[in-house]
């Protein structure tokens, strides 16, 4: 009788434990959640009000002229998907000061505009450098959105590209880099 009572008590205790364990598990911060916080958490990195960015605008064509020396060392242009064009000409290269939370606009050769916003600075993952949360939008000359929205966390000193906008028998390739 006593054994049975203890069995019931033990069983119910375990049942309660089982009910709460998943909840505790869900409530406890998982590595993913921690990563999310690290990426999104503004307090994990020094507060920065502005950053310098470099924006290059290339014109990709298949006119056989090769890669413009002014572009500098950019080996990825020889690889897909860039290799679908055999010529890259530097159209523009600008340094911008991106103030946190403010969209900085850059005129594009086709009359459209690129808007880049520095959103925040976040601590990188293990052993990684700080990353920068950026938002980019491209509008065509007629005011229609070409790229309505792109949110990235970019590494300092490395380009990321937005390409595909038609321009004079080729396309525009836009590179953005935090300096």
């Amino acid at each position: 009788m006593r054994t049975s009572a203890w069995g019931i008590v033990l069983g119910r205790s375990l049942l309660v434990l089982c009910c709460f364990a998943p909840a505790v598990s869900l409530a406890a911060p998982t590595p993913a959640a921690e990563i999310g916080r690290a990426v999104a958490g503004p307090h994990d990195a020094p507060v920065v009000a502005d950053v310098k960015a470099e924006i290059i605008i290339l014109h990709a064509t298949n006119d056989g002229k090769g890669i413009d020396p002014g572009i500098g060392k950019m080996p990825e242009l020889a690889q897909p998907p860039f290799s679908s064009y055999n010529s890259y000409k530097l159209l523009n290269k600008d340094a911008l000061k991106l103030i946190k939370g403010e969209a900085k606009e850059q005129k594009l050769p086709d009359g459209g505009k690129l808007a880049v916003t520095f959103k925040d600075m976040v601590k990188g993952k293990k052993g990684e450098a700080t990353r920068y949360m950026l938002k980019a939008m491209i509008e065509k000359s007629d005011g229609k959105a070409f790229l309505p929205g792109l949110d990235v966390t970019a590494r300092k000193g490395e380009y990321f590209f937005i390409a595909g906008q038609k321009y004079e028998k080729g396309i525009l390739v836009i590179g953005i880099k935090i300096k």
Partner: protein, 242 residues
């Protein structure tokens, strides 16, 4: 008058001889004819003796027969508690001699299976242990998610599609991870495996909205190096412009 045969004498003795032969035999055995019927009298006396002996023996046997039922019942009583003892899980050693205790044992024997069927504690214990194991697995799984990749927060009207309009078909040799989306939205952006593609992409795409166009994400790894001299993977967002 013909003397009665032995069979007739037996029947007469038993009262089974019918008239008029019964009267003739009775007359034959009358005292006046003692001399002629002395043999018959001797036979009748023998019959009477045998009848007495048989009757006494029968009584004795009948007396033993009366106790048969009692013996059987005693035997049953002796066997029953032994069987109940086997049926009980761990019965206390109790004397089984008297009949009065048998019902007690019977009631215990009847209670035993009911107790087992009602043993919810064991059932709950088993289920709880199972659930605890499942919870532990969930807990550990939650603590150790698979290799994390940036998730793309997608806006309304997002869907997946093949980037048929993309300028190149990426091949494995180029170490490109291409991710496409249809004209109405952005895909999930799985970052390339950092082990396979150097130090990770130059930019992790958190979300991308291709709007009404088709687009794709490419991660181009190569011998290009970043600012700190490490090999890098370049992130490319490629859209079609029709």
């Amino acid at each position: 008058m013909t003397p009665p045969t032995d069979l007739e004498l037996m029947m007469y003795f038993d009262g089974e001889l019918e008239e008029p032969r019964s009267s003739e035999v009775r007359a034959f055995l009358a005292p006046s004819e003692m001399g002629s019927s002395s043999g018959a009298h001797g036979k009748l006396g023998g019959l009477s003796l045998i009848a007495t002996l048989v009757r006494e023996n029968a009584h004795a046997s009948a007396a033993q027969a009366d106790s048969i039922a009692g013996d059987v019942m005693k035997q049953i009583d002796a066997e029953q508690p032994r069987a109940l003892k086997i049926g009980l899980a761990k019965p206390k050693p109790e004397p089984i001699g008297s009949r009065v205790k048998v019902p007690v044992l019977v009631s215990r024997a009847l209670r035993a299976p009911a107790a087992a069927a009602n043993d919810n504690g064991r059932l709950i214990f088993g289920l709880s242990a199972l659930a605890a194991a499942a919870a532990a697995v969930l807990f550990l799984w939650g603590k150790n998610p698979p290799a994390e990749a940036p998730t793309a927060a997608t806006g309304a009207g997002r869907a997946e599609a093949v980037a048929t309009d993309m300028p190149v078909e990426p091949t494995p040799a180029t170490s490109i991870a291409a991710h496409s989306a249809d004209s109405s939205g952005s895909p999930a952006t799985d970052a390339p495996d950092e082990g396979a593609l150097g130090e990770g992409p130059s930019a992790e795409v958190a979300s991308v909205d291709f709007g009404s166009r088709a687009g794709a994400l490419y991660y181009v790894s190569g011998d290009n190096t970043g600012a700190d001299g490490r090999s890098t993977t370049t992130t490319v967002v490629w859209l079609t412009d029709e």
